[in-house]
Symmetry: C2
Subunit: 359 residues, 2 copies
């Protein structure tokens, strides 16, 4: 422990006013005040006003930890996410904080950097803190123990990326639709061979988007060429590595569907350095649309996640009255995505004519 | 209150194991266990191990609210900031969360959207929650009551923007240096008439950067033309409004020094729409460098704030051992900034020759 003394001894007079002082001032019992402040007692208006006046005059603040003990409520929710510095998660956190406030609840932040031990530690700490609920966001496919820890909470919601085995409500974006929209848009521009850059082959988001991409690229019952898969994690560094790998191995691919703005940043950094032009050399579609892609060179076409609605829904579900209904924990909500067209998709560069592989 | 029942009644067996059960299992008194778990008692190794084994076997979690009552410690700090969705604050929050973790402390998030009443409410709530400390970030020049509320805390740190009247330590970036670097760079490229876009004429950051800008634009003792001031708040919307105002009123200005990436986004949106070219028509320097400005069209030259160090220092100061030293609360740390040169500054467009105003 880093404190060599109790900092609250020095605190302003606020913390020194006791319930007894307020009771004396208001002329009622401490029990009456305590139950009134807890919201567990309805008092006649004059008594209520006498108490409020005494509280205000003496600047009394109930000790929140004592109150929590008696109410079994912490007025906080735990937000467990990979990295708040990631603009998509920052926007999600902002929406969650705003929505939580409507329930008088504060947000405790836990960054996991997508590491298993940190996810477990955050869940453990949330349990110790007896938060009113947990919103869990990961960027990887977590082990069964993560799902088990989540399932132990009275109230927890999985947000954005699925956690297999989690028996709690989920709020995801419609990843399948995102894949379909990207596939249809690329197909319409003349692309047949597309690479998908994603955060892991075992991720629910990767699998669902790939499925959508296949279906979007297919037309008139005619099957599509299987998208090439490049996987790492959702970071600019990973985007750089995958872009280098793509440039070494790309054969017939004329377009990239990038699974996140973070990957897109890394891809564009490599392309800029190597004077590879988007969309002249390769077309590119991003996913998230949480960065200022409209100002990029070129402006990047992207599947847009409904980030505010995702955050709001997760909080609404956490504070829902329906938790005792039989199938509530099996709830999965998929929020629609949209394609924002900008300038990073064009007809494939026809110069480099190469024989197409047989399907 | 939104709960119609106590959610923790349904909680896993964790919360049902009591201190008594552990005491019985370990064969020691509850007081011994309690003091051991509080860290206030050193026990012989075998006793300690017996207790740990009992805690582990029974999956006992001490009630954190009870523990906080007895220790006067909450293991949380309050982070009060304008908006976590702003990439600069998101990065700052990430650095703060990481540093707080080294002190076993969690971060409670409060977004104020730069509103006076929300800043006061967040401070009030932090006092009620008896957090171990407060990190306060604003984007405006707050009223005296905000400073007074901050001064009431045993431990609070002002971060990023000054709060006049605050008698607590401050961690700021070197705004003056930022102004000097921008001024020198623009002067070297041939600019004399520069507009500063900022978050308010009364802001410490605006005043200090303007002072630096003047000094950077001046040379050989010869005074500089007074920079033109365009002020709003640090948001893309404000950047758009100020850019329109600038285009209506710009007379001899050939360059813009933008006080934040948020303003820069708004400026560039308007310029793109109106086909105004950076740097051909106007040169532009941003401040923060927290967005992916290197991928913008054009890549934007920017003063870079040391965002990780700013966050780390604020936390280190909060948990410092020096709070009882006489002048500790008067501490102001200014972290150096640097100029990152990219492609948004060039020689002024000489086509539009207009007579220069007299100084």
């Amino acid at each position: 422990m880093f404190y060599d003394r109790d900092p609250w001894k020095e605190q302003s007079m606020k913390s020194r006013t006791s319930l007894k002082d307020v009771a004396r001032e208001a002329g009622v019992s401490t029990a009456t005040i305590s139950r009134h402040l807890n919201g567990s007692l309805d008092l006649p208006e004059p008594t209520r006003m006498r108490i409020e006046a005494a509280v205000s005059k003496l600047r009394y603040h109930p000790n929140p930890h004592a109150r929590r003990l008696s109410l079994g409520k912490s007025d906080t929710i735990a937000l467990i996410l990979p990295d708040i510095a990631n603009p998509f998660f920052a926007k999600l956190a902002a929406a969650i904080e705003k929505a939580a406030e409507r329930h008088s609840s504060m947000v405790l932040l836990h960054a996991t950097f997508n590491k298993s031990d940190r996810e477990m530690a955050a869940l453990e700490r949330a349990a110790q803190n007896q938060v009113d609920g947990v919103i869990f966001i990961t960027n990887r496919a977590p082990e069964a123990k993560v799902a088990r820890a989540l399932n132990d909470f009275a109230r927890a919601v999985i947000l954005d990326e699925d956690v297999p085995g989690g028996k709690v409500p989920r709020v995801l974006c419609d990843n399948g639709l995102g894949g379909v929209l990207a596939g249809q848009h690329l197909r319409a521009a003349g692309h047949r061979h597309v690479a998908y850059f994603g955060g892991g082959a075992d991720l629910h988001s990767t699998q669902t988007r790939l499925e959508g991409l296949r279906s979007g690229l297919a037309q008139n019952g005619e099957p599509a060429y299987e998208p090439t898969l490049f996987v790492g994690d959702h970071s600019p560094t990973s985007g750089r590595i995958l872009a280098e790998e793509f440039l070494r191995n790309a054969d017939q691919e004329t377009a990239i569907f990038s699974g996140s703005d973070e990957l897109t940043v890394g891809i564009l950094e490599v392309f800029h350095e190597r004077k590879i032009k988007v969309p002249d050399d390769f077309s590119l579609i991003s996913f998230d649309d949480a960065r200022s892609l409209h100002l990029f060179a070129p402006a990047i076409t992207s599947v847009r996640q409904p980030v505010d609605q995702l955050g709001e829904r997760a909080v609404e579900i956490l504070f829902s009255d329906a938790w005792d209904q039989p199938d509530f924990k099996a709830l999965t909500e998929r929020m629609p995505v949209e394609l924002v067209e900008r300038s990073s998709v064009a007809m494939p560069a026809n110069k480099k004519k190469r024989p197409e592989k047989q399907l």
